[in-house]
Amino acid sequence: MAQPLTEDVVAAARKGDALAFRAIYQELSPVVFGYLRSHGVPDPEAVTSDVFVSVLQRVDRLVGGVAGLRTFVMSIAHARYVDEARRRRRQPQTFEYDTAFDPRITRSAEDEALAYAGTANILSVLRSLPDDQREVLALRFVADLAIDDVATVIGRSPGAVKQLQRRGLLALRRLLAGAGVTR
């Protein structure tokens, strides 16, 4: 069982301690994984591992304790997502046709219920948001960063982040209402 993420754990990680590394991974990898999923990264597990390899190789230069570590991890995750998105734009992926992924096919009531029961629906609606709004919502709520930290990660002002968050939440609610989901 990994130890909880504390300032001591971060200090031990800075010295290269393997147990501290594992504690960091246990605590923050779900956040990175969810962040990458919210952006629709094709292989979020592999990219999450890449993110943590980078994090652990540079953790000795970390400042700011646990909060600094969280921001640092999400900065690297954000950079990896941007790289991945650019790579995908340059080399579009091709898939075989599958009716399960064809939005023109009407789903049954059972499919609808199953889809909306879990996180699949919010993920699909989230991906239809503009990039900057989705980015802010993912960092604010999935990664649980404060406004100032989100501003640091994406290089915008805190005021701009607040505006993007507000617009994103409204757009998200509108999209979900348009999809016929009652909450």
Binding site: K15, G16, D17, A18, F21, R22, Y25, Q26, S29, P30, V31, F33, G34, Y35, R37, S38, P44, E45, A46, T48, S49, D50, F52, V53, L56, Q57, D60, A67, T119, I122, L123, L126, L137, A138, R140, F141, V142, A143, D144, L145, A146, I147, D148, K162, Q165, R166, L169, L170, L172, R173, L176, R183
Partner: protein, 211 residues
């Protein structure tokens, strides 16, 4: 610093359906509360072994070594360019390691002369006292310009044979023909500088005898 939840009430109060928005936020947060994914083999190695201290310190040390080499090379070439010659140790190193001969044309002021004296000129000729038999100013006037010996680095070292053939004879200031470069008065100078000047040199003894 604000915490993640600080501005949630602010956000929800501004919206028409706060309950809806709060639910959305909760769902978004649920996306980050899943079991950790399985690490890749590379990450698993890091997680189980950590990173030894020496590995993390190697990169800065390597960077410092490269910076030192670059700084040293830049300084050496800068000094060499400013002085129009290589620094002494660098010239010696080039002479030792390559067939090139650098630095011969520009002997160092403080360099010892014995090994290089036969091959190079003696720029500090006036430092040595002149023999009594030579009139003042003869050798200076008949001597080639300072740059001339440098153009003939392979001139034979002064020896007695040059003196024996009579080409080098004491000359008065008015009757000093231009001697051949190999038998210029510089040869006598070289001999004097290596033997000391307070006592008459063998050359001077011979020239007096010839007379």
């Amino acid at each position: 610093m604000t915490t993640p939840d600080d501005d949630d009430p602010e956000m929800t109060d501004q919206l028409e359906y706060p309950g809806d928005i709060a639910l959305l936020m909760r769902e978004l947060r649920e996306l980050g509360r899943v079991p950790p994914p399985a690490p890749s083999p590379e990450l698993e190695a890091l997680l189980s072994q950590g990173i030894p201290e020496f590995r993390r310190r190697r990169a800065p040390r390597r960077l410092a070594a490269v910076a030192a080499v670059v700084l040293g090379a830049t300084s050496a070439t800068g000094v060499a360019a400013a002085a129009d010659r290589l620094p002494g140790p660098v010239a010696d190193m080039v002479n030792d390691l390559t067939p090139l001969r650098v630095g011969d044309h520009h002997p160092r002021p403080g360099a010892p002369l014995p090994t290089r004296a036969p091959r190079t000129s003696t720029p500090d000729r006036t430092m040595h006292p002149r023999p009594q038999s030579s009139p003042v100013g003869v050798e200076r006037r008949g001597a080639p310009p300072a740059s001339e010996p440098m153009a003939q680095p392979d001139a034979a070292p002064p020896s007695n044979t040059h003196d024996d053939d009579g080409s080098v004879a004491p000359r008065s200031p008015s009757s000093s023909p231009s001697p051949s470069p190999s038998s210029s008065p510089r040869s006598n100078d070289d001999t004097r500088s290596s033997t000391g000047s307070q006592t008459p040199s063998p050359t001077n003894s011979r020239t007096a005898r010839d007379r």
